[in-house]
Structures are given as structure tokens and as C-alpha cells.
């Protein structure tokens, strides 16, 4: 493993499998009466969150606590960023207290890279702007593997706001690396330029994208980011791209439906689909803890390219 986990591109195929297999062992810990192992005892993990996030922060915190790390949460509000110290200064201050790992969520793409250049601590990207959210993609892959014998050759359709989604970017990198047939779908106003170069099929027809799909991954429509009028109305969006039971019927009978959360029911996904038999959305949440434990554990080890890093 490299020093940090900033992007799925930091991981080889073997390292991805290693994380998923370690997550298997970690999941068992969550079934014990005492859900805790002493592995990271004496290690300090700082959760540095520049964006509000209940799900990801909680998931990391539980993972850290199950591994007996000492955890510290720092939540920085957007308003205090405007008038407060720079990220570089915050990083140097945290670094001065020598934590072992920093988990960072930030609204700017590449903020974790800046942190990584400043800090000796291991950095885990918990979402940077529109760039990546690698642990989400790992837990998605883990969830898929619970339902499908292998990821290779699966048709995975990712539907929604492709432009602003960090979940999309990490999932595309990971799933193509593991040999899935990845389709991405959204209104043309929300398709980033040059997506095809990432080895995916781009479609603006949700029917084509999910046709005989093994996995459907819905992306959140970030209403707060829709100020640019990317589509006329949520109603029209739902009629064109919303995941309904009628559409799910186009996919394979054993299709699984995923969503990174938080969901906008009735915008990108109908409630009966979100709560229906194909939905694995809550499993994703449960698996998040195990996958993050695996990442924390594996990153706590030595760094193969320490000299280079």
C-alpha cells in the first residue's frame, strides 16, 4: 500500500482484493459480543471534516473505535474556513500533535493531496469535492461481491449527476480496474467531458444503461449544486432518469440497486425501489464499517514506497 489512500488509482488490483478480503474478517468482529479488537491501540486518528457528513463520519468513527484507535473529530464549518486559517495551517497544526492517520472530507477536489504533501500522517480521503470518495467505492465493490460471484464481466449502470459526483469517479476507476462493464448515464448537462476515456460507456438513455444490468447504482442529485440549472425541474428529472419499478424490470431479475446516500426519494429513486427486494442500500451502510476498518488496518502498516513518498 502507498502511504495514503487519496484515490482508487493509488491501489493495484491486488490491493483492492486485499482490502475486500480483509473487510471480510473485519465484518466478523461486528458480530461479536465485544465488537472491538486492540489492533490500533495507542494510535491516534483525526477525523477532519470540512463538510457536514453524518454517514461517512460515523462509519469511520465506528471503524476506528472497533480497532481501538483514539479518535478525534474536528468539524470545520464552511463559514469558519472563509475567515479562519488555511487548510495548510490546520494541517501543520494537527501534524504537530503527531496523529497516525487523518481522515479528511473537504469540499475542494485535491484538498487531501495538499494535506498529504504537508503531513507525515497517513491520509485517508473521505471525499474531496467532485473528485473521489475511495472508501465508498470499496464498500460498494464489497457489497456487490456479497451478491455476485465476481465483479469481472458484470454490467454496472451508474445513473445520476455524473458531473459533480466523487462517488462516480471512484467507482468508475475501481469497477473498470476489476473488469466490470460500466455504463454511466445522466442528462448531457451533467456528463463530464472526456468520460469515455475512463473506459466506460456513456448513455443519456436510462433504459439503455440499465438494460440487463447486474447492478444499478444511483447517484444523489445534489439539489444544492443544481443552481446552474442543469435540468428544468426535479419532476422532469425523475420522469427521465428516476429509478422506478418499471425501469428496474429492464435489468436482470437478480439486479441489485445501490445508492451511496443520502437518498432523495422521488427524485432519483422511487420509494418502492429504495425499500424493495433488489435494494442493498442498507447493506452498503453496514459494510462501510468493515471496509473502513480494513483500510485503517492496512494503511497502519509499512509503506512499500516509503522512500519515494
Amino acid at each position: 500500500m502507498k502511504k495514503d489512500l487519496l484515490s482508487i488509482s493509488d491501489l493495484t488490483r491486488d490491493e483492492i482484493y486485499r482490502i475486500l478480503e480483509t473487510a471480510d474478517a473485519m465484518r466478523e468482529i461486528g458480530t461479536r459480543p465485544i465488537k472491538k479488537v486492540p489492533t490500533l491501540r495507542g494510535k491516534t486518528v483525526v477525523n477532519l471534516f470540512y463538510e457536514p457528513s453524518t454517514r461517512t463520519r460515523t462509519s469511520f468513527e465506528i471503524a476506528e473505535k472497533r480497532l481501538s484507535a483514539d479518535t478525534l473529530n474536528i468539524a470545520v464549518s464552511a463559514s469558519s474556513v472563509q475567515k479562519g486559517e488555511t487548510l495548510a495551517d490546520t494541517a501543520m497544526n494537527i501534524e504537530a500533535m503527531s496523529p497516525d492517520m487523518i481522515v479528511i472530507r473537504h469540499a475542494s477536489s485535491g484538498a487531501c493531496h495538499l494535506l498529504s504533501r504537508i503531513c507525515k500522517s497517513r491520509i485517508i480521503n473521505a471525499g474531496d469535492g467532485m473528485h473521489e470518495h475511495p472508501t465508498q467505492a470499496l464498500l460498494d465493490a464489497y457489497t456487490i461481491r456479497q451478491h455476485k460471484p465476481t465483479i469481472e464481466g458484470l454490467k454496472v449502470a451508474i445513473v445520476g449527476d455524473l458531473l459533480h459526483s466523487r462517488v462516480l469517479r471512484s467507482n468508475v476507476l475501481l469497477l473498470t480496474k476489476l473488469g466490470a462493464d460500466v455504463w454511466v448515464c445522466g442528462p448531457p448537462t451533467l456528463v463530464p467531458r472526456g468520460m469515455q476515456q475512463l473506459g466506460v460507456t456513456v448513455s443519456t438513455s436510462v433504459e439503455a444503461a440499465i438494460d440487463r444490468a447486474d447492478v444499478i447504482m444511483m447517484l444523489r442529485i445534489q439539489q444544492e449544486r443544481m443552481q446552474g440549472a442543469y435540468f428544468p425541474s426535479l419532476r422532469e428529472y425523475f420522469s427521465l432518469f428516476g429509478m422506478t419499478s418499471a425501469r428496474v424490470a429492464l435489468a436482470k431479475p437478480d439486479v441489485i440497486i445501490m445508492h451511496p446516500g443520502p437518498m432523495n426519494r422521488g427524485v432519483e429513486i422511487a420509494s418502492d425501489v429504495a425499500d424493495g427486494p433488489h435494494s442493498v442500500i442498507l447493506e452498503q451502510v453496514a459494510n462501510g464499517v468493515a471496509v473502513r476498518m480494513a483500510v485503517l488496518y492496512l494503511l497502519a502498516g509499512g509503506v512499500e514506497d516509503e522512500v519515494a513518498a
Binding site: 500500500m1 486485499r18 478480503e21 480483509t22 471480510d24 474478517a25 473485519m26 466478523e28 468482529i29 461479536r32 459480543p33 465485544i34 472491538k36 479488537v37 486492540p38 489492533t39 490500533l40 491501540r41 495507542g42 494510535k43 480497532l67 480494513a294 488496518y297 492496512l298 497502519a300 502498516g301 509499512g302 512499500e304 516509503e306
Partner: protein, 184 residues
């Protein structure tokens, strides 16, 4: 490098240990075997099978059915993880103890007893699953050089070694054949 135990010898040794366990246990209803990943796990299974066979031959089969066995991975309990190792983290294996250990007599099984640190970790790990009545230890090979006050209750073979040597146990289940080899 010298092979110090071959398949035949390993088989006979395990049979002897199985007999010893039965003799000393005076009833095995509350006995359960827990193998330490990786090679302790097949050894625990073999011992359980042997014990059950001996009982059937003797007509003393337990009413509780076959002996319970489990697998314990101690990686997350190792005491060397907190040092910043230069190498990558060790692979974490599966822990699978499909029964309550409360009030059971647990027999830990491992292939080689060396410094005692693995057993220390295993005791910590096991205790988090409940409160067993007792914990005993069976190993195929005791090579000496203890660093902790730990002693095995059942030993297949005492093998005097130097610290520069290593002892490699191979089992059919994990390595394709049964043998114990000393490597320089």
C-alpha cells in the same frame, strides 16, 4: 534441510495427543477445540475427528454429538503491530467460532509453540468471546525459546532448535503434504 517428522509420524503423534486428551479430560461434553489460523485450524479439526473416532470405537460416543471446533485469527491481537513495521500489514484470517465459549473447556491448537506471543494474543482474543471454564493448549511442535510464561499441556514433539533456525510445518490441508522441516 532435515525433515524431522514425516506424514506417518505426524499421524501417530496426533493420535497419541487425541488419546491423552480423552484420558485427561474425563468426559468431553463441554470440550471445544479452537485452532489458531492458519495451521492450527486443520490440526484442531483432525484432533476432533480422531477423538470422535476413538470414542465410537470404544462405544463411549458423546451424547452431545461431534466435538465443536472453531477457528481463531490472532492477527489483530498481535503485539508487534503497534511498532511501525517497515513491511505491509500481515494478512488477517477468518475467525469463526460458531458456538458460545461460555463455561466450555477450550483446547487451543497450534502447529508450533515458540516465543509464546501468539498464544498470548490468542488468549486475549478468545476471552473477548466469553468466559470459558478453562483454556488448555495443544501444539504439534514445541521448539523452545519462550519469551512469556506459557507452557503447552499437550506436545507432539519437543524440538531443540537454535534461534537462527526456523521450523516449517506443512499440512495436507494448507500445503499439500504433511511434514515438519527445520530450516537454517
Amino acid at each position: 534441510m532435515p525433515v524431522v517428522m514425516d506424514a506417518n509420524r505426524i499421524g501417530r503423534t496426533l493420535t497419541r495427543i487425541a488419546h491423552e486428551i480423552l484420558e485427561r479430560s474425563r468426559g468431553i461434553d463441554d470440550l471445544a477445540l479452537v485452532g489458531i489460523q492458519r495451521r492450527g485450524v486443520p490440526l484442531a479439526r483432525r484432533l476432533a475427528t480422531m477423538i470422535n473416532q476413538i470414542q465410537e470405537e470404544d462405544g463411549t460416543a458423546s451424547s452431545a454429538g461431534p466435538l465443536a471446533t472453531g477457528a481463531l485469527d490472532i492477527t489483530l491481537y498481535r503485539d508487534d503491530l503497534r511498532r511501525h513495521a517497515a513491511s505491509a500489514q500481515p494478512v488477517v484470517g477468518r475467525t469463526d467460532i460458531p458456538f458460545s465459549i461460555d463455561d466450555k473447556r477450550i483446547l487451543l491448537v497450534d502447529d508450533v509453540l515458540f516465543t509464546g506471543r501468539t498464544i498470548r494474543a490468542a488468549l486475549d482474543a478468545l476471552i473477548e468471546f466469553g468466559r470459558p471454564k478453562s483454556i488448555h493448549l495443544a501444539v504439534l511442535v514445541d521448539r523452545g525459546h519462550r519469551e512469556l510464561p506459557i507452557k503447552a499441556d499437550y506436545v507432539g514433539k519437543n524440538l531443540p532448535t537454535s534461534l537462527s533456525q526456523s521450523v516449517q510445518v506443512r499440512l495436507v490441508e494448507t500445503d499439500g503434504r504433511d511434514e515438519v522441516e527445520i530450516q537454517e
